[in-house]
Amino acid sequence: MNDLDPVIHAPARLRIMTALTEALADGDDITFPALQKLLDMTAGNLTTHLAKLEAAGYVGIAKAFSGRKPTTFITLTPTGRTAFRTYRAHLLDLLGGSS
C-alpha cells in the first residue's frame, strides 16, 4: 500500500488535521471560531472540509451550549490522530525518510 490517505491528501484538510494535532492533547476539543482563527479559513470552507473529515471518523463535531450561546466543538478522534501519523510517515517515506 503506497497510496496516501485521500481524505487527508488535500491541502485544506491536511492543514486542518495538522492544526488539530498540534493544538489538541488527547481529550481536548476546540471551538469552531478558535479553529477558524488558527487556520485563517472561511467558515464555509472549514465546514465543508470538516464534514469530510467527520464522515471518515477523523474528527468529532459536537454542538453544546457555552452559557446561552450554542457553540460547535471539534475534537480529533484517536482514529484521526493515527491516520494523520500514518499520512505523515507515508509522506516522509515517499521523500526518502528525511524529516
Binding site: A23, G27, P33, L91
Partner: protein
C-alpha cells in the same frame, strides 16, 4: 510510478511544505501570548533591577527613594499582565485536559510566590538584617521562578526547563556576588535568557511542547 494514487515527488514535497508551515503557524499562534508575557517580564526585570542597581552603587545615579517604587511598579505591571494572560488563555476556545493542566500550573505560580513572600516577611519579622534581606529577597524569588520553570519537565518543554536551570544558577551566583552587583546580574542575565526563549518560541523554531504527532 507516478499516477494519481501514487503521487510524484513534487506533490509530496508540496504537501510536506503545507504541513510544516501549518505546524509553525499553529505553534506560533498558540504560544503568542506566552511569548509576549516573557517579553513583558524580561522588560520588568531589566528596568526594575537595573534601576535598583543604579541606586545601590557607591556613587548612585538614581536615589533609592525613587528606585524602589519604579521596581515595584515594574513587578506589579508584569503580575497584572500574567493574570490577564491566564484569563485570556482560559477562553482560548480549547477545552479539556490541557486547560486543566494550564490552570493548575498557573495557580502553582501564584501559590509559590505568595508562599515565598510570607516566608521572607516572617524572616524579616524575626530579625533578618536589611542588608541580608536586600540579597535574599530577589534570590529567593529567582530560585522559586527557576524551580517553577523546571515543571516544564512534565510536558517535556526543553525551553522552559532550560530557563529554570538559568534562573537557579542566576539566583545562586547573584547571591554570592552580593550587593549591589546582584541587581546587575538579575537585570542582565534573566532578561537575556527570557528574550532568547521568547524569540525562538515566537518564530516557531522551538516548540513550547514537543510536536504531538511525533510524541
Amino acid at each position: 510510478m507516478s499516477d494519481q494514487t501514487n503521487p510524484g515527488r513534487d506533490q509530496a514535497e508540496r504537501m510536506l511544505r503545507v504541513m510544516q508551515s501549518q505546524q509553525r503557524m499553529t505553534q506560533s499562534r498558540l504560544v503568542r501570548s506566552y511569548v509576549v508575557l516573557l517579553a513583558v517580564w524580561a522588560a520588568a526585570w531589566a528596568i526594575g533591577f537595573g534601576v535598583l542597581y543604579l541606586s545601590a552603587t557607591p556613587d548612585p545615579l538614581v536615589p533609592a527613594a525613587a528606585a524602589w517604587p519604579v521596581f515595584a511598579a515594574c513587578i506589579v505591571v508584569a503580575i497584572v499582565w500574567s493574570i490577564a494572560t491566564g484569563v485570556r488563555s482560559a477562553s482560548s476556545g480549547i477545552r479539556g485536559a490541557s486547560r486543566v493542566q494550564g490552570m493548575l500550573y498557573g495557580w502553582s505560580w501564584t501559590m509559590a510566590m505568595v508562599g515565598a513572600s510570607i516566608l521572607l516577611a516572617g524572616a524579616q519579622r524575626v530579625g533578618l538584617p536589611p542588608d541580608t534581606a536586600a540579597v535574599l529577597y530577589p534570590g529567593v524569588f529567582a530560585l522559586v521562578v527557576g524551580i517553577l520553570y523546571l515543571g516544564g519537565a512534565l510536558w517535556r518543554s526543553l525551553p522552559q526547563y532550560a530557563l529554570g536551570v538559568v534562573f537557579i544558577a542566576v539566583a545562586g551566583i547573584a547571591t554570592f556576588l552580593g550587593t549591589p552587583v546582584h541587581y546587575l546580574v538579575y537585570a542582565v542575565v534573566g532578561p537575556i535568557a527570557m528574550l532568547v526563549v521568547a524569540v525562538l518560541l515566537g518564530r516557531g523554531v522551538l516548540p513550547l511542547e514537543p510536536r504531538r504527532d511525533t510524541a
